[in-house]
Amino acid sequence: MTKTLTSLIVAAMLAFSMATIAQDNDETESRQELRSIDQDVQSLKKEVLDLNRDLFLLEEELLFPANSQVAFFISMDVGEYFELDSVNIKIDGKDVANYLYTEREVDALIRGGVHRIHMANLKTGDHEVVAIFTGKGPHIRDYRRGATLNFNKGIGAKYVELEITDRVKKQQPEFVVKEWE
């Protein structure tokens, strides 16, 4: 009697052990369920992204109507002679932006990313923008340099790009201001 019982127990236990080694059908069912939920999540993601696009455009149109909109961008070309820390922007003598860059952001700039540092509403006519770049220059020395642009704001939106480039001959950074219409 004991022998029969214990044999039964052994068989049951072995069956359990084997179950942990072998794959079971539950996994396939679970995968099917994951897939079905995943498809729903995919379609929701699409809808939320489209909604975000519409809301983003609405926000921009409300806050910065095209006829008064001016956007200021920071970009970097090479950036070997300058390690960017922060940028300060003054428009017509008034401080409008003071941005401290993280390592990740500087890396994104070096790789070709362009940062929209400030958006403003400006009247048509002449304006002046002054950008002060702070960071480490050649030989890891503290470096602070300004760039100025006088520009005319017309009726449409205007984009101003403040680009940090390397002047290889002088082994110095250079700050160039570009206008985009």
């Binding site: 004991t2 127990i9 072995l14 359990f16 939920i37 995919q42 696009r53 409300l62 956007a71 070709g112």
Partner: protein, 614 residues
Amino acid sequence: MRSLLVLLVFVASASYAAEDDDEIVIMDPQYGEVLFHFYQDDYFPAIVKLLAAQKQGQLDEHVEDAELLLGGMYLSYGHHLEAAAIFERMLADNVSVEIRDRTWFFLAKIWYQRGYHEKSQEALELVEGELPKNLQREALMMQAQILIETGEYDRAIALLQNWKGRTEWASYAKFNIGVALVRSGRVDEARVFLDELGDMNPFNEELSSLRDKANLALGYALLQDEKPMAAKAPLQRVRLEGPFSNKALLGVGWADAELGNFRRALVPWMELRGRDLLDSAVQESMLAIPYAMSELDSISQAADHYLNAIEAFYEETNRLDRTIAHIESGDLFDEFLSTGPLDSTGWYWELEELPEGPDSRYLFHLLASHEFQEGLKNYRDLNYLHRNLDGWQDSVDVFANMLETRKEAYDERLPRVEDALARADLDGMVSRKLDFDSTLNNIEESHDWLALATRSEFEMWGEVTSLESTPALRADIPEAAEVRDKIQLLKGVLQWQLERDFKDRLWRIRRNLDQAGEALVTAQRSRRQIDETMRNEPLRFEALSNRVYGLAPDIESIKMRVDDEMADQRGYLRDIAVGELQAQKQRLDVYTIQARFALAAIYDIAATEGEALE
């Protein structure tokens, strides 16, 4: 284009930094702005900005690049179906076979991970050329795994048998062949592959682990095939401290037990006694020990061990019940998300650490489960969408207020502006300007130099001419003649001066008149703009209001669907976790019943023997 594709393809492989050599020249600042977010792995804002810029036609210089970037970002964000649609459209004919193949490979990989096995298989079939060696191996392995999981063992074996070389991949191939052969019931053939693998000299942790797995799989396959003697060798090759050691120790014990050597079987089983009770092998050993003892006629010791096992299983079952209750409350998954910041989303996110608590020990192995991690990823993404929509809901309220305030300010200013406009007689000014033009033309034509005299000159001319007609000057006396001469001289000088300055004055006046004309044109243009603004502003307010008030219910309805989906996803994760714990509980229940039966049998024997003695 090529550089972007290389970048995208390597983004999908999460190892792009070193490959990104080619410079991307930014022609539209908005495109650069998208890249700024993309390079920081902030896929959601990057995609939104790209979609917005596309809709506004701001990416004219990067039309194709932008579309491909969008595909790449969708892929990184886990929006793989949309990514595939873009790639299918874009990769049809304008990129090299190499890039296209890599893209299909990464799509196949993501689809495999998300359980879209047919799509994964289809994508792999679209690979035309030769993938780089490392990807080629991975693709082949993926294909074989799909075949094994769909039960096509022979095809999987045929695919893997051609594997050449002595790399880690070759070892995985052998393992998978072994698994496919075991599953198709060809244990003897499997033995050749798994034995070779189980006897190898591993040079890293990954291979050591694979070696253990192969030995364990072979050992249990042989045990099931009733070859306990042969099973012992592979099971004894499993490392004593590795993740598979508990099962190996248990198996070695069973092999000895099957061979009737219960004393030897007790050695590995007793080793298991001190280990974590959560492991099924440890639980099983708690029954195996008294079983061996009863076989060795140590009945009272066996009874003690069965009692200990019943007690331990009871406590463990209670702990499992508490954890199941906690999981069913649904709070646990939010605790998972609170362990890390939710500032970015992405395909490569994985939960690496469980929140601290009594439940953690039960959930560790869940983290290794593919479905659970993928489900958690979706849950995290949904949570992000929920927060995003929450933020927009607040913003839309602000937009509505802003719009109302602006409209009020506009309505307040409008009468004042209208009043000022009514007072400014622009048409009258234009007509006066035209009169001036005509007068000036007449002056020029008639060479009317006096018309351009200054007030003082004109008065002086008047005085001189009025003196001329004084009656006293007509007298025929020398004094009168002298004055007449002087008057003539004065007139002559004045006329000479006026005639000399005539052209210059005419030019100056015409220039001023032209300037006035230009100013009038500008004023007229401004007036037209003001009129247009006055006409359009109410329409603009209305359009913006419609958008603000139209989007608010959209946000609400999508938010509700996100909530529902989160509940479903939570349910799915809960089912996996609870299912896992229920299986553990069920196993403990079965073990408890077995222990009770065995104990009853022991008491029965003892009682029978007692009666016989009496």
